[in-house]
Amino acid sequence: MALSAFHTPETIEQAVALLAGDPSARPLSGGTDLIVQMQSGRSEAGAIVDIKRIAGLNGIRSDGDGFVIGAATPCTALKEDAALVAAWPGVVEAANLIGSVQVRNRATMAGNLCNASPAADSVPALVAAGATCLIAGPSGEREVPVEAIPVAPSKTSLQAGEMVTAIKLPKRSAGGSDAYLRSIPRTEMDIAVVGAGANITVDAEGVCTSARIAIGAAAPTVVLVEDAGKALEGSGFDDAAMEAMAQAVRNACKPIDDKRGTIEYRIAMAGVLAKRTVMIARERAGGTA
């Protein structure tokens, strides 16, 4: 690897200055994408900015309104936060489908998001959850919805010198829950053929009051399928509403054919997974007798 420097900033300001000062510098979180890409010659990184020594970037804070997950927090740490698991089980399970225990002890959701793979497992769950990310850059801080970050495979909307500092999950509303499922040929250590995340709220009568559905590996980026959520809202999850939801999901798919799955398979499977995921989220929300 032809790297010229390895930086270990201790503040966000230092990290941003290093990134802004060298267009070839890349943030390093867990390295489970970046180091693989450097080793195989697929990365143009000229210098590394390790963000793991920045105070406050590793850990989960509850800010009263929700959760602030530092960009350098490894996926396995999410499972150890009981309040986070109770509020956002789908996000935690999605992040903990990534790779192996060895990989998850390093991999972060921020890295999963910024690597911009359409098959990134935590991203559909985060999008369904309505998560946002905090971005620090040369012109200050901004906050954008998670779905605004990936724009194409391996491309993000981050500007020169910018980095994600945290992922924010909103407060869990009463009667709500979430879930994530993916389809893979093995049970572990594989890339999603299709993934689906669902976040729903159910009232005391079992009627869906809100729903957000997102799909992965079915288009160049993870997609928020707004029509799928609308198809469920106001329904009691009857067959017609579920089928309308699945149809909206299938309509949103623009997948590729590859060794993992054909276009037809991915589209059909996206509908199936979306239905299953909604049913799990509904059960978790207490919406089934």
């Binding site: 690897m1 032809a2 790297l3 010229s4 420097a5 390895f6 270990t8 390093l28 867990g30 390295g31 489970t32 180091i35 693989v36 450097m38 080793q39 195989s40 210098a47 590394i48 390790d50 793991k52 490894p74 396995t76 790779g99 192996s100 225990v101 060895q102 990989v103 002890n105 390093r106 049970t187 572990e188 250590m189």
Partner: protein, 162 residues
């Protein structure tokens, strides 16, 4: 390209080394510190042969930059036995013939010990999921799983070593 000076703890000893900014911790362990117990199978996080402990968590050393080790606590396969006293999981690997070529074994032992240190009573399913990031092309895994379950029983003192 200037070399970085790194001080770290390896198996309880303070170690120092110089590394390039693009070197992995696996490279340094094997080539600088002459600790060749940790193996390189794939170099891409898939096989687990390079598994080590970093600040108490198991990771693939091929996916850790050497410079990241500054001030960290590292544990490798060389630190699993206490002197000539094998760790129970090392002994049960021998008892069950849970290895053939042995290339995957250091990674499996480090990973299995990490599991048993936190949970000496895992189910077989838990063991299989925990070890999903370790590949073995020889044994077919079954003997490895038996060895880990047996080591767990020994650690719970339900079985006395033969």
């Amino acid at each position: 390209m200037s070399k970085l000076h790194v001080t770290t703890s390896v198996n309880g000893d303070e170690r120092e080394f110089l590394c390039g900014p693009g070197e992995t911790l696996l490279d340094v362990l094997r080539d600088e510190l002459d600790m060749t117990g940790t193996k390189e199978g794939c170099g891409s996080g898939d096989c687990g042969a390079c598994t080590i402990m970093l600040d108490g968590e198991m990771v693939c050393s091929c996916l850790v930059m050497a410079a990241e080790a500054q001030g960290r606590v590292i544990g490798t396969i060389e630190g699993v036995a206490e002197g000539s006293e094998l760790h129970p999981v090392q002994r049960t690997f021998l008892d069950h013939a849970a290895l053939q070529c042995g290339f995957c074994t250091p990674g499996f032992i480090v990973a299995a010990k990490a599991l048993l240190d936190r949970n000496p009573d895992p189910t077989e399913t838990e063991v299989r999921y925990w070890l999903a990031g370790n590949l073995c092309r020889c044994t077919g895994y079954d003997k490895i799983i038996r060895a880990v379950m047996d080591a767990a029983a020994e650690l719970r003192q339900e079985r006395t070593p033969a």
